[in-house]
């Protein structure tokens, strides 16, 4: 049995679908951020798998993923700082109850 390109794309696709579902249905800001991480991660898997299967002599996809991981870490740190600040002001992180900045 061969491990084909498709067999790595299917779990990544399901992970992305879960991320989209969670991002739309969750009300908690941190839970939304977790769904966002799932989506970013599935895109990273696709970069690496396409690079490895289609262009094994070059490593652009691998470097792209390396930088994407660094940027995702920065984005998560800033987002969590904002969420903690929102919690200090509004005392919860539910997106339906945070209405202070609505006009």
């Amino acid at each position: 049995m061969d491990l084909t390109l498709l067999m790595y794309l299917i779990p990544s696709l399901i992970m992305f679908g879960c991320g989209v579902y969670g991002f739309i249905t969750r009300k908690n800001m941190i839970a939304m951020l977790i769904s966002l991480e799932l989506m970013l991660n599935s895109a990273d898997i696709n970069f690496v798998v396409f690079n490895r299967y289609l262009f094994p002599a070059q490593h652009e996809g691998m470097f792209f993923t390396l930088f994407a991981i660094a940027i995702a870490a920065a984005e998560t740190a800033v987002a969590i700082a904002i969420i903690i600040n929102v919690y200090r002001i509004a005392k919860n992180v539910d997106i339906n109850k945070i209405t202070k900045m609505k006009f």
Binding site: C18, L33, Q58, V78
Partner: protein, 171 residues
């Protein structure tokens, strides 16, 4: 032909990713959601190891499993009151979420079926990609060098540290 160990490893990784990513977005407790995310990230690192990118797998474990998940756990502890039972993550707009997710997945599956021949190739062998080659590529300025993005990322991380401290400090 792949070795049997590789196939078994692949099945374990794929099942872990599918089961835990579904659980991470459907569970009612937020701390459990963060724990399931950790398992998904570790399985992703295992995929990188299987693709022979050892440095990338190590980075994934160090940054995601070691850094981001810990950050998530701390943020959950800081924003949810301890002691009392945490409010369940009741979902809203569930139909809309299912439609968006299902439409996206069906579109991607249709696209993949359109490229069935392209998708059925097996793993080619990779020329020797050692860690010193990676270091040279990361710090060189010629055609396949990545010095400029490397420096840009270092400036971005500095900006992120300052931004995080400024946003989250006590006033």
């Amino acid at each position: 032909m792949e070795s049997l160990g590789n196939v078994i490893m692949y099945v374990i990784i794929a099942l872990t990713i599918i089961v835990f990513s579904v659980l991470a977005v459907t569970t009612k407790k937020i701390l459990r959601s963060a724990t399931y995310l950790l398992f998904v990230l570790l399985a992703t690192a295992a995929i990188y190891f299987q693709m022979d990118y050892e440095f990338l797998g190590a980075t994934q474990i160090a940054v995601y499993a070691g850094g981001i998940v810990v950050l998530f756990v701390f943020a959950i502890m800081l924003t949810h009151k301890p002691g009392e039972d945490a409010a369940p993550l009741t979902s809203h707009k569930r139909i809309l979420g299912l439609i968006a997710c299902g439409a996206g997945v069906i579109l991607c599956v249709a696209a993949l079926l359109g490229y069935a021949k392209f998708c059925s190739q097996s793993l080619p062998s990779m020329s020797d990609f050692t860690i010193d080659r990676l270091g040279e590529m990361l710090l060189s300025t010629d055609k396949f060098g990545y010095l400029l993005p490397f420096e840009a990322v270092s400036v971005l991380l500095l900006a992120c540290i300052i931004g995080g401290v400024v946003i989250a400090r006590k006033r």
